[in-house]
Amino acid sequence: MKRGLAGTVAVVAMVTLAVPAVIASGPSPSPSDEDARIVHALNRLGYGPRPGDVDAVRAMGLERWIDRQLHPERIDDGALRARLASYRTLDLSAGELMEGYEVPREVKREIQKKRAEMDGASEEEMARTRRELMQELGGSMQGMKGRPRQVVEELQAAKVVRAVYSQRQLDEVLVDFWINHFNVFAGKGPEKFLVGAYERDVIRPHAWGRFEDLLKATAESPAMLFYLDNWLSASPDAQQPRTRGRGGFLRRGRPAPPAPEQGQGRKRGLNENYAREVMELHTLGVDGGYTQKDVTEVARCFTGWTIRGLRQGDPRFAFDARIHDGKEKVVLGQRIRGGGQGEGEQVLHILATHPATARFISMKLARRFVADDPPAALVDRAAATFRKTGGDIRAVVATILQSPEFLSAEVRSAKVKTPLEFVASAVRASGATVTDARELARRIGEMGMPLYMQQPPTGYKDTSEAWVSTSGLLSRLNLALDLAAGRVRGVAVDAASLAPHVLFPAGLSEPTRKTLERETGLDAARTAGLVLGSPEFQRR
C-alpha cells in the first residue's frame, strides 16, 4: 500500500470532497443512557454483549440482572456442558491425566540418555532425535490416550468456550480473576496435569465464598505447592526421609526435582518462594508491611506442607511432620509455636484477616471491574465490607458492582480489553458459533496472553498499558478480519448478519463512522472486520 506523494494528494482531495456528504448523512442514532449502562454492565460483568443481550437485560431490569449474576448458582447453565463435552480431559483427575497423557517414563529416560550423549548438538538436532525416538518407541506409548500438550490445549479452549457461552458470565470473570490472582504456570513440569483440577476443584468452588477459605484451598493445592516449590521446603534441621524405591513420578517431571541420595539422610532445606508470594501477591500486597525476616519465618511455618501420591497418580496435599521446623517463629509480630500443620493455617488466618489484605484484594477487584485507577472512596468501602464480613467475596464484589461509581459515565470504556476479553467479546458480538475453540485460544496466546501459561507468579496485568502494543494490536486487527470473514478454524459466522450497530450497540465513534461511510466499496465481512478492529472495540 505504498502511496507516493501524488497518490496521497489525490486521496486527500477525495476525502475533502467527501466531507460534505459525511456531514449530510448525520449521526447514526446513539443509544439511550440506560442502554449505555447496560452495555457497560455486560462488558464488565461478562465478556461483552451478544446480539439481543441489551434488549434482554433491559426487559429484566439492569439491577435485577446484576443481582442475578451475583448468584450464579441460580442461573441454569446446562447448555454450556454440552459445548464442553468434546474436550475429554476436562473432567479427569490429575492422576487420570498423568496416567493417560504423560509420555511414559522409559521413553523419557531413553530421550534423556540420548540427549546426554548428544551434548553440544543444536536444539534442532535434539528435537529431531526426540521425534525419531518417540516413533521408535511407539510401542511403549500405545497406552497413551493423548499427548501432554492436549491437556493444556483443551483447558485453554474450554476457557474460551465458557467466556463465550456461559450464562453465568460474572462467575467466569470472577474465576478468571482468582486463577490469575493465584497464578500457577502450566508449563512447569507436571503442573499441566494439576492446573485443571486446580481451577475446577480449588478456585471455582471457593470463588464466591470467604477469602480465607479460598486462600487455604490454594495453599493446600498440589498445583500451588508444586508451582511455588513449597512441597520441597523442609526444616534445615530435618533429616531427609528415606525415599521408597526408585523411579516414580518425581523423576518424570521437568524440572527434575532433586534426586535424593537414598539412605544418606541428606538434609533438605528451607524454600522461601511460596512464603514470599503468599504475602506479596496473594494477601498483603508488596507494600503490606512485611519484612525479609517475615518471609523466612512464614517459610519455616509452612515446612512440611507437601504433596503426596504424585507417584501413585493421586497427588494430594499432605503434612509431613518429619520435615517441619517445630521451633518458635514470629510472623508480623505474632508468636507462633509448636503447632505442626496448624502453624501454616495460623499464618493464613493472620494474612487473610490483615487490613492490608482487605485493601489489596478490594483494590484489585475494583481495578478489574471499574477502572485501572479505581476511585479511592470505592476501594475504601469495598475494603470495609471485606473487614466487616470476614472476607465475604460475594459481599465485596456486590459493594463494587452496586456502587454509583461502577455505573458512572466516566468509567465507561475506561478499560482496554485483555486479549481473552477481546477475543471472547468479538466472538460474542458477531453471534458466531464455536465448534472448536483451540484456534481462538492460540490467537489469544499470540496477542501476548497464553492462557494458563503465565510464568511469573504475578499473573497477567490488569491495566491498559500492559495490552497496548504494536504487535498486540496487529494480532487483534487480523483476528477481527479473520473472524468476520469466517477464516478462523472452528468458528462459523454469518457475515450478512453483522451490521455495525449489532456488533457495537454502544454507538461507534465519529472517526469509525466516518471511515465506514467513506469506504463504501467494502462487503459486510470487511466492514464487520473494521468494526471489531476499531479503537472503541478494544475497550470495555
Partner: protein
C-alpha cells in the same frame, strides 16, 4: 536531504485540518533518508534472576565451593568441559558458555560482575519493574529507561524502528511517550492481505482519528512500521557466515534483531528477553537446568556476533537480570532470591577480555545481608556508560532520575 521534521513543516500541516495525519508523507521522508548506519544498543533481559555466581564462576574463592556443595562448578582443568573455563585466573565461564570464550579472548566480550539494582527487594516483579523503569525503589515511575533515552534525544528523522522489541508486548523498559514497536516476529508483522488496501486504509484512518485514545499512538506506530518493514524482505533472511541461532523464541528474536540492524531500518535500541532462570530447585552444576539455559544464551550471543560480522562494530549488546541468587545453595539443590548478579557486554568499542567491577568477595562479612553477593556496580552506571559512550547520549540525568550516573562511576566497559 529531506528530514521528517522539515517535511512536516513544509507540506504536512496543511492537511491536518482535514483530520488526516500525513502518514504517507512521513514515510516518503524516511525513504529519502536512505540507508543511514546507526549505532545500536541491544538489551537482553534474563527474566527470573540468573545465578551470576554459576554463570561467571569465582572459582578462586573457597567460600564458593563450600557454600555450594552440590552445584558448584569445578575450577578450570586445562580446558575440560566438565569445569569452569578460565578467564583471568580468578573467574571462569560456566562450561555451557563455551561459545563465548573466543569473544572474551579476542576482546569483544566483557564481563561485569557484582552488578545489580541497589534496592533490597527480592520480588521478581518489583526488581524487574525497578530495573526496567530505571528507578530502583520508586514504583510511581511511568516510563522505562530506554524510552526516556529516546525522549532525551529526540530525533525528528527517526524511523519507526528506532526502538524495537522482539517480544509479543512492549516491555516496561520501552514504555513511555516516545514511539516504540513491539513484535513477536518480523514476518508475521502485517495485516492480512485478503482484507485489501481499503481495509488497511480504514484501520489507519480510524486509529488516526481516535486522538484522545491511548491506542491512537499505538495504531499510528503499527501502520508506519508495517509499511517500513516491507523493505527488509523478511521471508528470505539467511544469517551470514554460517551463524546458527538456537531454535526457540529467544534465538529467533536475536536473529531478527540482527536482520533489522543489517537492513538499516534505523534501529537504535533493541530489546529481547529470555526466561527460565528461577532455579529454586535442582539448578544443576556443569549439567542441568541452568546449564541448558546458559547453553542457549551462549549459542545465541555467539551466533549474533558471527552473523553481524563487521557490522558488530556499530552494535553493543548487554545482558541484564533483576537480581542474583543466594550464595549458599538451598536444601533443594537450588538457589533462592539474592542480590548482585553478572552482565555480559559484547560489541564494538567494548573493553573486552576482562572481568570489570570491584569484586566484593564471598566471605560472610562481605555478603549483603549476610547471604548474598553485594552490589559494587549499580546497573544504572553500566547502562549510563553504554548510552553515553556508545550512543553518544549527552544528558543521563533524566534517563536515571535521582541517580545521575557520572563518568567517574562508569565501570569502564567501553573505550572512552
Amino acid at each position: 536531504m529531506l528530514t521528517r521534521r522539515i517535511f512536516l513543516k513544509s507540506s504536512g500541516l496543511a492537511f491536518v485540518s482535514f483530520g488526516l495525519a500525513p502518514r504517507a508523507l512521513i514515510r516518503s521522508a524516511w525513504a529519502a533518508e536512505g540507508s543511514r548506519r546507526k549505532k545500536t544498543l541491544v538489551v537482553v533481559f534474563q527474566r527470573g534472576a540468573c545465578d551470576g555466581l554459576n554463570t561467571v564462576v569465582p572459582y578462586g574463592e573457597s567460600a564458593y565451593r563450600k557454600l555450594r556443595p552440590t552445584i558448584a562448578i569445578p575450577a578450570p582443568r586445562g580446558g575440560s568441559r566438565d569445569a569452569a573455563l578460565d578467564l583471568d585466573g580468578h573467574f571462569g565461564l560456566h562450561p555451557a558458555l563455551e561459545p563465548l570464550l573466543a569473544s572474551f579472548k579476542d576482546g569483544s566480550l566483557a564481563v561485569v560482575h557484582a552488578v545489580g539494582s541497589p534496592d533490597a527487594t527480592r520480588s521478581h516483579f518489583d526488581a524487574q519493574d525497578f530495573m526496567e523503569s530505571g528507578t530502583p525503589g520508586r514504583k510511581s515511575t511511568e516510563d522505562g529507561w530506554m524510552n526516556r533515552h529516546l525522549q532525551c534525544a529526540p530525533d525528528a528523522a527517526a524511523s519507526p524502528f528506532r526502538a524495537v522489541s522482539l517480544t509479543p508486548t512492549l516491555p516496561r523498559s520501552l514504555a513511555g511517550r516516545a514511539p516504540a514497536v513491539a513484535m513477536a516476529s518480523i514476518d508475521r508483522f502485517g495485516l492480512r492481505p485478503a482484507g485489501g488496501a481499503a481495509v488497511a486504509r480504514g484501520f489507519e484512518d480510524m486509529y488516526a482519528g481516535a486522538v484522545r485514545d491511548v491506542l491512537h499512538g499505538t495504531g499510528q506506530e503499527t501502520f508506519e512500521a508495517i509499511e517500513f518493514l516491507k523493505k527488509t524482505d523478511p521471508g528470505r533472511y539467511v544469517p551470514a557466515a554460517g551463524a546458527s541461532y538456537p531454535r526457540g523464541p529467544y534465538g529467533e528474536s536475536l536473529k531478527q534483531i540482527a536482520q533489522l540492524v543489517k537492513a538499516d531500518v534505523g534501529v537504535e535500541l533493541a530489546f529481547t528477553e529470555v526466561g527460565g532462570w528461577d532455579h529454586h530447585a535442582a539448578e544443576g552444576g556443569v549439567q542441568g537446568q541452568l546449564a541448558a539455559r546458559l547453553r542457549e544464551l551462549g549459542h545465541s550471543l555467539a551466533a549474533f556476533q558471527r552473523d553481524l560480522g563487521q557490522r558488530m562494530q556499530d552494535v553493543v549488546l548487554v545482558t541484564l537480570t533483576e537480581f542474583g541468587r543466594t550464595v549458599r545453595e538451598n536444601g533443594n539443590r537450588g538457589t533462592d532470591h539474592g542480590h548482585a548478579s553478572v552482565s555480559f557486554v559484547m560489541g564494538g568499542g567494548v573493553r573486552g577480555g576482562r572481568v570489570h567491577g570491584r569484586w566484593p568477595g564471598l566471605t560472610p562479612d562481605r555478603l549483603y545481608e549476610g547471604r548474598d553477593l553485594a552490589i559494587t556496580t549499580d546497573f544504572r552506571d553500566l547502562l549510563g556508560e553504554l548510552l553515553a559512550r556508545h550512543l553518544g547520549a549527552r544528558d543521563l540525568g533524566p534517563v536515571f532520575p535521582g541517580h545521575d550516573p557520572s563518568a567517574a562511576r562508569f565501570p569502564g566497559v567501553m573505550r572512552a
